[in-house]
Amino acid sequence: MLIQEELTAAFHPGMQACASTVTQYLWLIPAMPMVASGVIALMKQPRRKPAAALAIGSLGLSLLVALAAFAHVVSDWTQHIAVRETVNFTWMQVGASHVELGWVLDPLSAAMMVMVCFVGLLIFIYSVGYMEHDENFTRFFCFLALFAGAMLGVVIANSLLLLFMCWELVGLTSYLLIGFWYQKPSAAAAAKKAFLTTRVGDIFFLLGMVWLFAQTGTLLFYNSGAGSMEPLALGGMLATPSALGLTAAGAIGLLIFAGAAGKSGQLPLHVWLPDAMEGPTPVSALIHAATMVAAGVYLVARVYPLMSAGIVPGGTTAALSVVTWVGASTALFAALIAVAQNDIKRILAYSTVSQLGYMMAGLGMGGVAVGMFHLITHAFFKALLFMGAGSVIHGCHEEQDVRKMGGLRSAMPLTFLTYAAGMLALCGVPIFFSGFWSKDAILESAHGWTFSHGPYFMLVLGAVLTAFYMTRQVSYVFFGTWRGHGHAHESPAVMTMPLAILAFFAMALGLIGTPAWPWFRAFLDSRAAELDMHAFAEPGWLMLLATSTVIVVVGIGSGWLLYGNKSPDAEEPDALERALPPVWAVLRDRIYVDELYGVTVIAFYGWWARVADWLDRFVWGGVVTAVAWLFRGWAQVNRLLDVHGVDGGFDKGCDEIAAGGGLISRVQSGRVQSYLRLLALGVVLLAAILFWSSRG
């Protein structure tokens, strides 16, 4: 431990003033897919191959740049330099305040961008096979490339504003891709729901951003000491109290977390994510499993200095406690619902919500490295599971109900093997799968959290349920006998090869995060990575290993007991339904959260909208009509007065004069032209008089 501390002290920050060449060109990473997207948008529909090639090629190039940047960070790190290079520029200037944008290269962004590029690339390749027969193939790749660009923009942003802008663009492409098959009403509705729900979170994010700017005068994260995530600004925010006993730092942190919760499907804003499965499966894999939904977790990691401002060793902050509790509740809640779903993708969607909860809880209790490690491993094995599910759907002729599948392990052996790897990683099967190591780290920090044991038990229970529902799903899909229509067939190589690659990483990634060699953690924390085999012999860790083993055995065992090799009919009640009917009903209906929104928030807005509309139609409009009537009535009174009083006298006088004959009768000839002529004459005369008088 002592040696480690000395090493920590030896780390010195890299020079920020001169960003290295690779940092200078970091903008290329998001720019290339975006440009590709623009070019594809201008191409004609039938040009499929160039569109796919362009999207894949651009992301491939981005991956190369990202790897170069990653290598740069790693090489500096091994020389004990903590890299944090930024390039900032002024976007607009208002009075004394500058609004700046910029990008940053540090271990966090480097790790994330490599993951996004790599997983994204595999999914792009997979999509070529999956979307082969779709008539809007080019549009799909256009949106996909745009998404990748925006997501990478979120990753490299060094400014909360730039992050927010890319964040919104990510949300938009997510909307477009969920609604890709907008002919289906359910897809169109799901897209709208996703956009609206995440947007609710985004408004809090926006408010947090406005507050941060008002408080610190900058939206940059890091700017040689003047950024908002650096001690000077943090100190200022800590010293400013706000409502409910929070400091400004805590309140801003919570507002930003609300935005993150919207994107990452945290309770209670999770409702859009399962519906988002209406999109094509590669979209679910890329956006709603690996990258975009993880952006919320990434955002919290990015603003972690703000969240943890004023923390003492072994302590926590209000913001981090909220993150922890929300995360842990989400983890358990979504795992419960996943148990009673029958759609292959919906099960995975709830599982994603649940795992995102783990990541948030990891951030809240264990810090950036713990949460981020699970984010990275999850991205690989969940993308694998979704793509495997896509392969299954593809092979079963667009069937998504797990009860109408079965026995696919012989028909689709490659898909089965890779899917099994992903499933075991998700369940956290010890030692051989990456999910074990990353989930273990979260459970470890939850166990050590001194404020409450609640999150720990919730996460443990969630883990048991995870193993249970995955076993249920795999038994339904791959074991038993075939219950669907037609023949299931294995998917083409362009789809299975990415699966194999991801399966490899789902197992191997664990190597960089074991207690004996916590490479990833050390990398993110800018400490030296030590190989220490004795860590495996520590009683604490052994205890945890035992717990994990029990979790997995109980989960998988009970799942297998209920569902293994049973191959029940689709009409038959579920095994769990027979055992616990009321519980099943509640879980199947997703604990009625959607219905709750329907009778509260949505009804409330609908009601208010109608009230306001009514006000406008009758009250404000009525006032106008009333005033108009009032004036009209007044005018009538005046007219009567005029006709019978004033005019009467005038007419009488005129009559008398007219009776006298002479000039007037000739003027009143009834010819309009002559009236007009007289009128014009009068105007000219009047103008002349005015003109002369004003000169005089």
Binding site: W91, Y182, A188, K192, L207, V210, D613, V624
Partner: protein, 502 residues
């Protein structure tokens, strides 16, 4: 040079009136040439202003009614340049989207150009009396445009609009006369009046009077009801101008006249009720109510054009809110929002009123739902998706920058305003997406029957494409590179804040 925008438009209007009645193509092209010339002048002047660091420059100054100290005084600072540019854009787009007007074409464009001329005049006047004259001139063609070429209850809409406008101008006129009289009756020049040092007690009642008078035309709640009915009744080009520039006349008046002449009227009263302690608070609260209320009412509409009409009320709330923040960033944002809303609302009205309505002959969302417009009018669908994104303030479009600045400014002034306005933004997403979904992307019947449904819709014409691209390019350019306009607005706001407002 800039003065020619006014003369050219009025001359154009005169020529249009004299053109032969049976030559609609000639009338169209002539109107387009005049509008483009105006836009070109505005752009050139903007570029010239940029080399001049957007200092205020006098264009024309000749005595008019010397006995009363009235001058024909035209001048422009950065704010004027921005709104003149907006007027130029709206004029060109308006002509393009009126390409299909066949009824009394030349008269239509005569009124159209006269309106544009009046608007240019207001934005360039630096004499209060002159400003008022142009302001009144602009009301008349507006009435005829709606009453002759309008639809849905056009007489009602036109009359309501005219009445509201005249009530507003009556209030402004009283304020104008009072200010003139109490400053000694030497001059009606804006600069002279601002320096006249009116007593605070007078400013305290003049400010709300004049501000309200102008804000009526800016659609301030609860004086907003002319806006939706007027917009709906108006022909497309007129609703584009109404939302695009006429509402800006009101906001411009609030800024240029009410706030800069009577800054002491914004001072605290010395007592407060429910947290409202000055006229500034009153108008900020009205603006915020307008933002949320307009959005909510838009959510409940069944007529597509009413949705856009109420969205204008909501977006103009941001302008008014920005104005009364009385800080650099908020007021800059308000002016930027004027430009942004002018362009975006113009685009939305063009899509709803021209591209969709002229083909489907209905604006009822329930009827549009059955028409499969996403397949039959893909251009309109995608244009509306993009315009809707701009309207709901997504980054990359001008609305985001403008609303962000207003929100930051109002946070500095009073965070509660920002929070409430945030609710309006959420509802904004809801009504835009609702209208989008219902009008374009809903599928009540199977897609196989798409083309059995009635006749084929007319193809999209080039003026529609050109107009869409023009407006869309403007909002995108400002959204990506806001300094384009901010460099112009900022010094003018700074001068304004330093020269009167605290």
């Amino acid at each position: 040079m800039l003065a020619w925008t006014i003369y050219l438009s009025f001359a154009g209007a005169l020529v249009e009136a004299l053109l032969p009645k049976n030559r609609p193509a000639l009338a169209r092209w002539f109107a387009l040439v005049v509008a483009v010339a105006g836009l070109a002048l505005a752009l050139l002047s903007f570029a010239a202003g940029a080399t001049n660091h957007f200092q205020r420059s006098v264009i024309v100054d000749v005595p008019w009614v010397s006995g009363m100290g009235i001058h024909y005084l035209l001048a422009a600072d950065g704010i004027s340049l921005v709104v003149v540019l907006l007027t130029g854009l709206a004029a060109v787009a308006g002509v393009l989207f009126s390409w299909n007007i066949d009824l009394r074409t030349n008269e239509f464009f005569a009124f159209f150009l006269a309106l544009i001329g009046g608007v240019y005049g207001v934005f360039l006047s630096y004499d209060l009396f002159l400003l008022f004259v142009f302001y009144e001139i602009a009301i008349v063609p507006k009435y005829f445009l709606i009453a002759i070429w309008g639809s849905t209850r056009r007489e009602y809409g036109a009359m309501k609009l005219a009445l509201y406008s005249f009530v507003g101008s009556a209030m402004v006129l009283i304020g104008l006369l009072a200010a003139y009289a109490s400053s000694g009756g030497h001059s009606t020049g804006l600069v002279e009046l601002a320096h006249a040092g009116l007593p605070a007690s007078e400013q305290m009642w003049l400010f709300p009077l004049v501000f309200t008078g102008f804000a009526i035309l800016a659609g301030m709640w609860p004086f907003h009801t002319w806006a939706p009915t007027g917009h709906v009744a108006a022909p497309t080009a007129a609703s584009m101008l109404l939302a695009g520039v006429v509402m800006k006349l009101g906001a411009y008046g609030c800024l240029r006249v009410a706030i800069s002449l009577f800054p002491r009227g914004l001072d605290p009263w010395g007592w407060s009720f429910l947290g409202i302690g000055s006229w500034r608070d009153v108008f900020a609260v009205l603006a915020v109510i307008g933002i949320v209320y307009g959005a909510l009412v838009a959510l409940a509409q069944t007529d597509f054009k009413f949705v856009i009409g109420y969205s204008s009320v909501s977006h103009m709330g941001f302008v008014l809110l920005g104005l009364v923040t009385l800080n650099q960033i908020g007021m800059t944002g308000a002016v930027l929002q004027m430009f942004s809303h002018g362009v975006i609302a113009g685009l939305l009205f063009a899509i709803v009123g021209r591209i969709v309505y002229e083909r489907t002959h209905t604006r009822q969302l329930a009827e549009l739902e059955t028409m499969h417009l996403s397949k039959r009018l893909p251009f309109a669908s995608w244009a509306f998706v993009l315009a809707g994104m701009a309207s709901m303030g997504l980054p990359g479009f001008s609305g985001f920058v403008a609303e962000l600045q207003v929100l930051v400014g109002s946070w500095v002034a009073k965070p509660a305003w920002t929070v409430t306005a945030g609710v309006g933004i959420v509802v904004g997403v809801a009504y835009t997406w609702r209208a989008l979904q219902k009008a374009f992307f809903s599928d009540a019947t199977p897609s196989a029957h798409v083309h059995e449904h009635g006749h084929e819709l007319a193809a999209i014409t080039w003026p529609e494409v050109a107009g869409t691209v023009l407006l869309f390019g403007a909002t995108l350019a400002v959204g990506l590179y806001p300094r384009l306009l901010l460099d112009a607005i900022e010094p003018a706001v700074k001068t304004l804040l330093a020269g009167g407002v605290r």
